[in-house]
């Protein structure tokens, strides 16, 4: 179960014809490396390639998501959005990044310098770690561990440490308040996010991401799981919006109350890392949502429509995965540009009085569905 076997997971369950497949590319590289070098070196080189690929994906996702957010916001706000840099403003986020790179990264005098500088890197590292168990396409996964879902919910809660660290080390009252709010918020919403993930685990009977995806070959959980899965899907979306500190749950950086919350004192690339980590986190939680509820890279299949199913199979699995993920990202952006922000006590009320009881009851319901085999 190490990174090696990771690079290629032969998906023997479904022998579907693909127009092009990322599996072929990864296995070709794997075979070539093993022929050329001895297995240890091949392993090290594969790790390096995986690391570079993750960092590259980070950069691209950061640029794409920032541009997407600005465009979505602009259109909802009857504006045009970025349209000056490059064709259709496509280079805008490039220019922003360049500006942040050349900006001085200030460290305030009274700050705890070590923690202050460490915090953005922890935020990034958490986001990178979360990348490991995600299946980007059929047979294209960094690490197919048997406890994938547990790993995700465990690692994602480390995120709060970076925010608390940043808020405390900044020696700024706004930052401290933002960090404390964020602490209370993330700890609470972990619960309902975890419980709604458990619904799928109960139905699938496995914590393994590949197993979960394979269980959805004949229909995505959100369709075949009846009402319990739909409820847990809604709760999952709400909970992860809160967990990633995005509006309407952006209390940690509540602009009109705390200027910029926990990253008030950050500037330059250190701020950019927080900014990037937020978007990467959004991507990751949406990818998890797509994997658990919308079938990951699994194409859309309807019952016995063989011709239709066959046509759907011709769309590459990576397109399916990214399509679903970006749809969920769009929904989360849609929330952000529509709703007002909650107050801290209302935020906790929503979790403890509404989401948690509902998701607990829902888990019971899902268990009954799973035991009685009511799902398709």
């Amino acid at each position: 179960m190490l990174l090696t076997s990771a690079f290629l997971i032969p998906c023997s369950l479904f022998k579907l014809q693909k127009m092009w497949s990322l599996t072929d590319i990864s296995s070709a590289i794997h075979n070539w490396l093993n022929q050329t070098f001895n297995p240890t070196w091949a392993l090290i080189i594969e790790m390096v390639i995986a690391g570079i690929a993750v960092i590259g994906l980070f950069a691209v996702l950061g640029l794409v998501l920032v541009l997407m957010e600005r465009r979505v916001a602009a259109w909802m706000q009857i504006r045009l959005g970025p349209n000056r840099v490059g064709p259709f403003g496509l280079m805008q986020s490039m220019a922003d990044t360049l500006k942040l790179l050349v900006k001085e990264g200030m460290t305030p005098d009274g700050a705890d310098k070590f923690l202050f500088n460490l915090a953005p890197f922890i935020a990034m590292m958490v986001a990178m770690l979360l990348m490991a168990p995600i299946a980007f396409a059929k047979g294209f996964q960094l690490w197919d561990m048997n406890i994938g879902v547990l790993y995700i919910s465990a690692v994602s809660s480390i995120m709060v440490i970076s925010i608390l660290m940043a808020g405390w080390a900044s020696n700024n009252k706004y930052s401290l308040m933002g960090a404390m709010r964020s602490g209370a918020q993330i700890v609470s919403y972990e619960l309902s996010a975890g419980l709604s993930i458990l619904t799928i685990v109960v139905l699938t009977g496995s914590l393994n991401i590949t197993d979960i995806i394979n269980a959805q070959a004949d229909g995505w959980w959100v369709f075949k799981g009846h009402i319990p899965v739909i409820i847990s899907f809604v709760i999952f979306i709400i909970a992860v919006t809160a967990e990633t500190n995005r509006a309407p749950f952006d209390l940690a950086e509540a602009e009109s109350e705390l200027t910029a919350g926990f990253h008030t004192e950050y500037s330059g690339m250190k701020f950019a890392l927080f900014f990037l980590a937020e978007y990467i986190n959004v991507f990751i939680v949406c990818a998890i949502g797509a994997t658990l509820f919308l079938g990951g890279w699994m194409p859309f299949h309807i019952g016995h429509w063989e011709a239709f199913n066959h046509a759907m199979d011709y769309i590459p699995s990576s397109v399916w995965f990214f399509g679903k993920t970006f749809f969920l990202i769009f929904v989360i952006m849609w929330f952000r540009w529509t709703f007002p922000r909650l107050r801290i006590d209302q935020l906790l009320n929503l979790e403890w009085k509404y989401l948690l009881p509902i998701s607990m009851f829902n888990l019971l319901l899902a268990t009954a569905v799973a035991i009685l085999g009511w799902h398709f």
Binding site: Q77, P248, E257, W337, T338, L342, D345
Partner: protein
């Protein structure tokens, strides 16, 4: 450990909201004593945008000082100018032509709508929704265009002069205003969809910033802030000026006493303003737009006071004249100052997030508070 982050000995956290802060829309400085998230005390500090407008007016003639008052409550510039022009007219006993009176009322009500539009967007932005701000500006832009066409400017118009108006209406004015009325009636329902009905918004507003009727009176609140607490304070009804006694409109009253009541007051007031404009726009009488006045205005010796209802409340203009061409002393009673004084009373015991909702519904314009 706690001393290091600047708390007092009692363990309170003191934070500064302003003078440069996204919530204050200007240079208001609030020193807030917090216990955790709960507010113990709010201390407004003024003086960051003091331009001594009252003193400036003492050195300007009665024709000149009107334009300065646009810079006080810049969102209801026309209404400020109206108060000043009326005060001079009262002193000089100038009879303003009917046409000018009607146009003044239409302009005032358009200004009131524009001001409430901006308030609506800015308040929604304060509590975290960014989109309404741009939607509000879309309609406000239409009013600005109408103003630009007739008055020549979009914000500080200086269209009112003692005795009437500076120029006659633009030929397209009536057509454009009618188009705006049709558009606005459609759009105000969208506001309800986007903000008013929203469950998060209602929860943020309901019961927040409670100001009882007695407190509203004793703090001298006026305008929507007082009417939200059920105080009859509409100067247009109580002491009608211009042609307000000849048009049909309701004084909007709510008894909720909280932020939601003050919010609803403004939304309903916009509809009443539209009602006033609808009655007048087709009935602008023909005639002069300006009364014949002397080249040099000299107010007789004495004291003169007029008051009008701006978008924020009661604006009083008090002129003491020694008989010269400039006022001896001038004093403005601005609505924002009294409304702001109630903030501490309202905010005690509520959460920090509520403070922005309260400030939003008080509709503070800082240059109006701090002249």
């Amino acid at each position: 450990m706690f001393e290091e982050i600047g708390t007092t000995t009692e363990g309170d956290l003191i934070i500064n909201v302003g003078p440069q802060h996204p919530a204050t829309h200007g240079v208001l400085h609030l020193v807030i004593t917090l216990n955790g998230e709960t507010i113990k005390k709010v201390e407004p500090h003024l003086g960051y945008i003091h331009r001594s407008i009252e003193k400036m007016c003492e050195s300007l003639t009665y024709r000149q000082f009107i334009y300065v008052t646009s810079r006080m409550d810049y969102l209801s510039a026309h209404i400020n100018n109206h108060a000043c022009a009326m005060c001079v007219e009262k002193g000089m006993q100038i009879e303003v032509p009917e046409r000018a009176q009607v146009i003044r009322v239409i302009m005032d009500e358009l200004t009131r709508i524009a001001s409430h539009e901006l308030w609506w967007g800015a308040m929604a932005m304060d509590i975290g929704a960014f989109t309404p701000f741009f939607h509000a500006f879309r309609e406000r832009e239409k009013i600005n265009e109408i103003m630009e066409e007739t008055c020549g400017a979009r914000l500080t118009m200086n269209y009112y002069v003692p005795g009437g108006l500076m120029a006659d209406l633009h030929p397209d004015f009536q057509k454009k205003v009618k188009e705006f009325i049709v558009l606005f009636k459609r759009k105000i329902d969208e506001y309800d969809e986007l903000v008013t009905g929203n469950i998060i918004f209602i929860n943020r507003m309901k019961g927040v910033g409670f100001l009882s009727k007695e407190d509203a009176i004793s703090y001298g609140c006026s305008g929507p802030a007082a009417r939200g607490s059920g105080v009859n304070s509409d100067i247009r009804k109580l002491y009608p000026y211009a042609v307000y006694d000849k048009v049909q409109f309701d004084e909007v009253l709510e008894t909720g006493c909280d932020s939601l009541a003050r919010y609803m007051i403004r939304i309903r007031e916009m509809k009443q303003s539209i009602r006033i404009i609808e009655q007048l726009i087709d009935n602008i009488p023909e005639g002069d737009f300006q009364a014949k006045t002397k080249a040099v205005l000299k107010l007789p010796k004495g004291e003169f006071y007029t008051r009008v209802e701006t978008a924020r409340g009661e604006l009083g203009v008090y002129i003491v004249s020694e008989g010269g061409t400039t006022p001896y002393r001038i004093k403005f009673r601005s609505p924002g100052f009294s409304n702001l004084s109630a903030l501490d009373h309202m905010a005690r015991g509520s959460k920090l997030g509520d403070l922005v909702a309260m400030m939003g519904t008080l509709d503070l314009v800082i240059p109006d508070i701090d002249r």
